[in-house]
Symmetry: C2
Subunit: 161 residues, 2 copies
């Protein structure tokens, strides 16, 4: 297991332990490349009245994947430099539901601007608070997208540190 796979596995365990809804959704982290986080969920616990994936489950999986991407970027930096621990909150999101999802699904999260991380870290060091935009999608097997989410996350230095 390489280091990225190991930190992703740790994050998955923390999410499933601390968030009952993520556990009910049966989410898993499938892949983390440093630039992209892929999170999966089976259809069964996430169906709606029509038998396809509930919009709230798609929104939750994409939000959680985006949150996890920011979390892992901060954790990777904490492994390199001395930095305060941060809490990460979603601030806003715009979601488009493009096609119903009739099978198990996954969300891909990546930074909206891959070059935004240094400025994000600088703002955190200077003000203890910084924002980062993330783009997520739920791809289908044919290459199209079932849903997309564009969200802004804010990281805040923990008050107790």
């Amino acid at each position: 297991m390489d280091e990225r796979t190991s930190v992703a596995a740790t994050l998955q365990a923390e999410i499933l332990e601390s968030m009952p809804l993520a556990d009910a959704m049966d989410i898993r982290i499938r892949r983390y490349t440093g630039d992209e986080l892929e999170m999966t969920a089976p259809l069964a616990p996430n169906v709606n009245d029509k038998g396809c994936a509930f919009g709230g489950s798609l929104a939750s999986l994409m939000t959680l994947a985006g949150w996890g991407l920011v979390r892992l970027a901060l954790d990777a930096r904490a492994g390199r430099v001395r930095a305060a621990p941060y809490d990460i909150y979603v601030q806003d999101s715009a979601i488009r539901y493009l096609a119903p999802v009739w099978q198990d699904f996954h969300a891909l999260a990546r930074l909206a601007d891959a070059s935004a991380l240094p400025a994000f870290f600088d703002a955190l060091d200077a003000r203890g608070k910084a924002r980062l935009r993330v783009h997520c999608s739920v791809p289908l097997a044919d290459g199209s997208e079932a849903a997309t989410l564009d969200a802004q996350f804010v990281a805040l230095a923990r008050a107790d540190t």
Copy 2:
């Protein structure tokens, strides 16, 4: 139990029966006035890593309340006029997370434009498909809002009818 309370209770039972995640979130319909639908969820099954409500739970509750409002408007009309059964999907949503939620919470859904229903019904009759915008919020005890959602829903006549 008046008629609106009765149809809301039926809808709640259908949601909890058909949607495992709504059951895991422990949602309830508290009030339906015809113009407004109020849906509740306890904090415990919806907490995040920080101990406040998971953004995905807030998004899911608001989406479900908006969906339920459209569902009940269609059901009320079906009780008055002969109309095809419809499936309702969320198409897009814009969510703002304004404050963390540290207690049980509820979502209020109402039409973005209260006068839009006649045109929505006319479009359904003419084309078997129509869109309706809904505004939802998660109010806090002090009168402020913890989150808002503006979403568009589409109703489609069922293919099997």
